[in-house]
């Protein structure tokens, strides 16, 4: 966040400095040019000036991704996916890319604290260890609260610690993940392993209140994109309360109350059963008798024909169908989804549990409450909070306070002085994951290795190393550091006995790849417990409550608040509401009219005796009678996070066991208003064909673009060697915004803060536009990544008085920052609003540590300069230079701009139009290719491929 800089030189001082520098210039001294410090011994392969890629792994919540970390001169500057992680194939979560900011966060702890005072590691460790030894001697329990471990080695370490300290109680908390799905899995399959969703195999998908296509699900997006082209087209039905990206990309989206999702599932099961699909053993058909599609359609105001078509589609798709229920839904809805998948034969096909790793026991709010209640009664001698932030994210704040007061010694392992660290006696600063060693098991046939890409920046230690150290102090034999511990376990348990390689070779090859494919022990297919499904179906009824149904979901960008301190993720808007810097409650248009609400009205939500005030947003497509809001905001600590948005975790205290769905919430207007920092303020295309969408049947008709050349006053441009161009397939794009994060990281794009976003001065070089078409009750949503279109006859170039922006003979609209005098004529004349003006010294104000994240291949722009997307010209030049020094010609695919490299759907393709065989040439010639605002005659270099939809009943489709 940058504030406008007041000139810190008065006129007199300025003249003084001017005089002094003139005197200096007249003197004989020459300015020093700095120093060059070479390596003592250059490590093999390390070459100053060249980027190195290290394979590593990133974990968040219940997922882990293989990543490649790009480093320059030893410092990580960019994160991208690792193609050795097969299911993600070179793509990763947008938060993996953004969390490089966490490494350079100026708010990171640099040394241990004991009672708030800086201390040495020996002091902090000694204090903690003596208390643990005391607890062991007195046989008093000790609480260890962590996030999901996900790492087999880390799990082994915690187990070993549990042996050395028999009173250790380990609670795993993922506060925003909800426990309903795990509970349903456990009840119906006897095992909470989460199956992998094979969207790539699915022809007909039913998404019940679930976000499958957001930027933290690269695997699902990739699978979805596999079947969204002319060649192979799936059909997605989404039934949901709020508008999600899944709903936005669905062929049929139906606003649906979450409390009725289970009923819909069971009604579909009944319809399938009636048309001849057998019920699994143990499910009595009588239990389904009460669920009727027609009645449900009437109740929810949906089209009964559509529900019938859905049942028909599911039946026809059989094992290529997929039904998914969302984490906010109650176990009944999950059971209905399991039942449908089993009846359709999707189990084992689109729902693949065969290689799921063992699930971790998550402590839900109830179980955590029990622990904290025991703590409040003084049962625990000590507690270690590692990663989790219960002082912020635990719903019952009073219970947390009383238990925190009753635990004699609280230790914190974490990166910043956050809410929990402030409440703890000992604070042990932790490495960032880019400084750490670990392994993760995303599926039982794959192990990911995490390795440091940089030496620790501060006097911190890896959390695992702290536990290992405690383990040694408690008398458990263990190696000196976690890396050795990890290697030892790999030597013992991971390297196959049949492998003839020496372990060092095996290890270094796994480390190089960052991933190890393994033979997965085959497990018998899981069996659905019919009796459990029957029991849950019996519990499914119409809700009695009269209030709103509120769904709380992890923030699309900030997750459960652990990334709230990240400026990139705060400024990246919510993919649907396009609200940045904070959260709001989404209200349906009908309810907004009824209650007299408009965007920015502060409302009071109350459920179960908890009241919270936050702004409202009128969300087109929101089901009447439902509300939606994001968790993860309203942090009290953090240089960026503090005070942004509203903390909704307390609402969960009122929900009881229902998890993230609050079935009976009251909403009241307070009369206050606030201005909301939306990144997009207008939501309609106003009759212009900016983002196009056609049905599959229509796509078989001839080309839909303007084909005739418009008259122009300019001579035709010649491109002797290359003509760089881009194609964006809107049918593949899900609007996840991974491209925008990757662009921000690659191109040193500054963060401007909420106040400037309100003035429309955000600086994103690439944004994803979202348009609504049709009735506000349930509009069609169009999503479109928008970056500089690199027009051949660019209107910005002709108005620049100093020729700072002009055209290259490779088709790029160049921007020479050093020539720019900041008239902003170009931005005024740009039809796409992709030029961004740097109003303040955002970069000069960047804290020293954050500057280390700058990409040295891109100018760090000063104030008063216009900037915009360059098609990542630094990557073009790099690829050209690399090809030339390798003595070969440039090949199609050598150049990948940051956005294209990050896109999990592969929707963005870059290449040379002069090469008729290049992918981009072929895409640009496709029938559904068009250029945005082509009628202006500016000849953009970006071809968009119209979105394809595949609605039921679309003639001659599928």
């Amino acid at each position: 966040m940058a504030e406008p800089i007041e000139p810190d030189l008065s006129r007199r001082e300025f003249l003084g400095v001017l005089g002094a520098s003139a005197a200096l210039a007249a003197g004989c001294s020459r300015p020093d040019r700095g120093e060059i410090v070479p390596f003592d011994k250059r490590p093999a392969g390390a070459r100053p000036g060249n980027a190195d890629l290290y394979a590593s792994a990133f974990q968040e919540g219940l997922s882990a991704y293989g990543v490649l970390v790009k480093t320059r001169e030893g410092r990580p500057i960019h994160v991208q996916g690792n193609d050795k992680h097969p299911s993600c194939a070179g793509k990763t979560s947008l938060r993996a890319m953004a969390d490089i900011m966490g490494l350079y966060d100026p708010g990171r702890l640099r040394r241990p604290l004991v009672k708030g005072r800086p201390a040495s590691w020996d002091q902090a460790r000694g204090r903690l260890l003596s208390d643990l030894l005391g607890a062991r001697a007195e046989r008093r329990p000790v609480l260890l609260m962590t996030n999901a471990l996900l790492s087999p080695t880390r799990r082994a370490l915690v187990a070993a610690l549990g042996k050395a300290l028999p009173g250790l109680k380990h609670a795993v908390r993922e506060p925003a993940c909800g426990g309903a799905e795990a509970a349903a899995l456990k009840a119906c399959y006897g095992d909470a392993r989460r199956p992998r969703l094979r969207l790539d195999r699915a022809k007909v998908m039913l998404a019940l209140e679930v976000e499958l296509l957001s930027g933290d699900r690269p695997e699902e997006i990739k699978g979805f994109a596999a079947n969204r082209g002319e060649g192979s087209m799936s059909r997605l039905y989404a039934f949901e309360a709020g508008m999600s990206l899944t709903g936005a990309n669905a062929d049929h989206r139906v606003p649906w109350k979450p409390s009725r999702a289970a009923a819909l599932g069971f009604a579909l099961a009944r319809a399938l059963h009636q048309s001849g699909r057998p019920l699994p053993a143990g499910v009595a058909d009588s239990v389904l008798a009460g669920f009727d599609l027609e009645a449900l359609a009437k109740e929810q105001g949906a089209d009964p024909a559509l529900l019938r078509a859905l049942a028909e589609d599911l039946k026809r798709a059989g094992s290529s169908a997929l039904v998914v229920a969302g984490p906010a839904l109650p176990p009944q809805a999950h059971a209905a989804a399991f039942l449908l998948n089993t009846m359709l034969g999707a189990e084992g096909s689109t729902v693949d549990a065969s290689i799921s790793p063992p699930a971790e026991e998550l402590a839900g709010d109830e179980e955590s409450s029990r622990f904290l209640l025991e703590a409040a009664q003084g049962r625990f001698a000590a507690a270690v909070f590692w990663g989790v932030n219960p002082a912020y994210a635990f719903p019952d704040a009073a219970l947390w306070d009383s238990s925190a007061a009753a635990i004699p010694l609280k230790a914190r392992i974490g990166r910043t002085l956050d809410e929990t660290a402030r409440a703890c006696d000992i604070v042990l600063p932790e490495h960032h994951w880019l400084e750490s060693w670990n392994d993760f098991e995303p599926s039982s046939d794959l192990l990911l290795l995490q390795q440091p890409a940089v030496a620790p920046l501060y006097d911190t230690r890896q959390g695992d190393d702290v536990l290992l150290d405690l383990l040694r102090g408690l008398g458990g034999g263990a190696p000196l550091d976690y890396r050795s511990y990890l290697m030892e376990r790999w030597r013992r348990e991971v390297q196959p006995a049949s492998s003839l390689l020496p372990f060092e070779r095996f290890w270094s090859s796994a480390l190089h790849d960052g991933a190890l494919r393994r033979e997965a022990a085959s497990r018998p297919p899981r069996r659905l417990d019919g009796a459990a499904v029957t029991k849950l179906a019996r519990q499914t009824g119409a809700p009695a409550a009269s209030g709103f149904e509120l769904i709380l979901s992890p923030g699309a960008n900030v997750f459960d608040g652990r990334y709230a301190d990240n400026g990139w993720l705060q400024e990246l808007p919510d993919p649907v509401t396009k609200l940045s810097w904070g959260n709001a409650v989404c209200v349906s248009p009908a309810d907004a009219v009824r209650l007299g609400l408009a965007d920015g009205d502060i409302v009071e939500l109350s459920a179960g005796g908890v009241e919270v005030e936050l702004p409202a947003v009128v969300q087109p497509g929101q089901a009447p009678g439902t509300l939606g809001a994001a968790l993860g905001y309203g942090r009290r600590a953090g240089s960026v996070a503090a005070g942004v948005g509203v903390n909704l975790f307390p609402m969960l205290a009122g929900s009881g066991a229902a998890g993230l769905l609050l079935p009976d919430t009251e909403l009241q207007k307070t009369g206050c208003r606030t201005a909301l920092p939306f990144i997009q303020r207008h939501h309609k295309m106003e009759g212009r064909d900016i983002a196009r969408s056609i049905t599959l049947a229509k796509s078989r008709q001839p080309r839909l673009t303007h084909s005739k050349d418009l008259a122009t006053l300019y001579p035709p441009r010649k491109f002797p060697k290359h003509k760089w161009a881009m194609a964006v397939d809107l049918s593949l794009c899900t609007g996840c915004q991974a491209c925008a994060v990757s662009c921000q990281s690659e191109n040193n794009v500054p963060v401007v803060g909420a106040e400037r976003v309100l003035e429309g001065r955000e600086m994103h070089w690439l944004r994803v536009d979202r348009y609504y078409e049709g009735p506000a009750e349930n509009p069609k949503v169009l999503l479109q990544p928008m970056m500089c279109q690199q027009c051949d006859d660019a209107p910005c170039e002709t108005v620049c008085p100093v020729a700072a922006t002009n055209h290259s003979d490779e088709g790029l609209n160049q921007m020479a920052y050093n020539r720019c005098v900041g008239t902003r004529y170009c931005a005024n004349n740009c039809p796409y609003k992709v030029r961004r003006f740097n109003f303040f010294e955002y970069n000069a104000q960047t804290p020293e540590s954050r500057r280390l994240a700058f990409n040295p291949e891109v100018t760090v722009r000063p104030r008063g300069v216009m900037e915009k997307c360059t098609f990542c010209v630094q990557r073009i030049q790099e690829a050209k230079a690399a090809a030339r020094s390798a003595g070969r010609a440039l090949r199609d695919g050598d150049i990948e701009p940051a956005c294209a490299a990050a896109c999990p759907a592969g929707a963005i393709v870059f290449g040379d139009l002069k090469d008729p065989a290049s992918r981009v040439s072929r895409l640009a010639a496709r029938g559904r290719g068009y250029r945005v605002l082509e009628e202006l005659g500016v000849k953009p270099s970006v071809t968009y491929l119209a979105d394809l939809s595949n609605p039921a009943g679309d003639r001659d489709a599928s």
């Binding site: 020459r30 003592d40 160049q814 100018t859 630094q874 030049q877």
Partner: protein
């Protein structure tokens, strides 16, 4: 009018006025010269030859001993920066060569203690210029084209201005810099070739 001219003429006979006038003229000339000299384009670039922590002589190594440039600056054809050799490269020879001389002893002690040797940078480009050695070296352009006759310099100095006009004149007509028979007719003149 005549009256005024007469008055001025009388004033000019005053020696004090003459002195002041002459001094002003001299001062004005001095200011013009000073400003002109200090504002000359290559004022800070050409001839810059800072003292180095070790008096390394390119004249000896590149000239008399004729060690190829890329033996030490091995990044020139593989990286954007040619790079300064690691101490290990120096010690490759100086483990046995001239080990008694004080600068070599300094080098050896730095190397053995794991200390770092901070050379003074001689050639530098502004932050908005992105120069890449690779295409220039692989085109066969001699290092001396931009770095001057390094093999004759006992103390390395910047010989060329390295200003944009210097770059562009060669990009527009690279014949003199390229080896005979090179297929390259021109270098790129796009802004994005060097600025981004």
């Amino acid at each position: 009018m005549d009256r005024i001219a007469e008055l001025l003429w009388q004033r000019l006979r005053d020696p004090a006025v003459r002195l002041v006038l002459a001094a002003s003229a001299a001062a004005a000339l001095a200011v013009v010269c000073l400003v002109g000299w200090s504002a000359q384009p290559d004022r800070f670039s050409r001839g810059f030859a800072p003292a180095q922590p070790i008096p390394f002589s390119h004249r000896l190594h590149a000239g008399s001993l004729a060690i190829p440039c890329q033996h030490c600056h091995s990044g020139a054809d593989r990286s954007r920066s040619a790079g300064v050799p690691s101490l290990e490269i120096c010690m490759g020879c100086h483990k046995v060569t001239r080990i008694k001389s004080p600068p070599i002893r300094k080098l050896a002690s730095l190397y053995e203690s794991g200390g770092s040797l901070a050379w003074k940078r001689v050639h530098s480009l502004p932050g908005h210029v992105f120069f890449d050695h690779r295409p220039h070296v692989s085109a066969g352009i001699a290092c001396q084209t931009c770095h001057g006759p390094v093999q004759d310099m006992a103390v390395l100095r910047q010989d060329m201005s390295l200003r944009m006009s210097h770059c562009l004149s060669c990009h527009r007509d690279p014949k003199a810099a390229l080896p005979a028979g090179s297929a390259i007719a021109r270098g790129p003149e796009n802004c994005y070739a060097c600025h981004r």
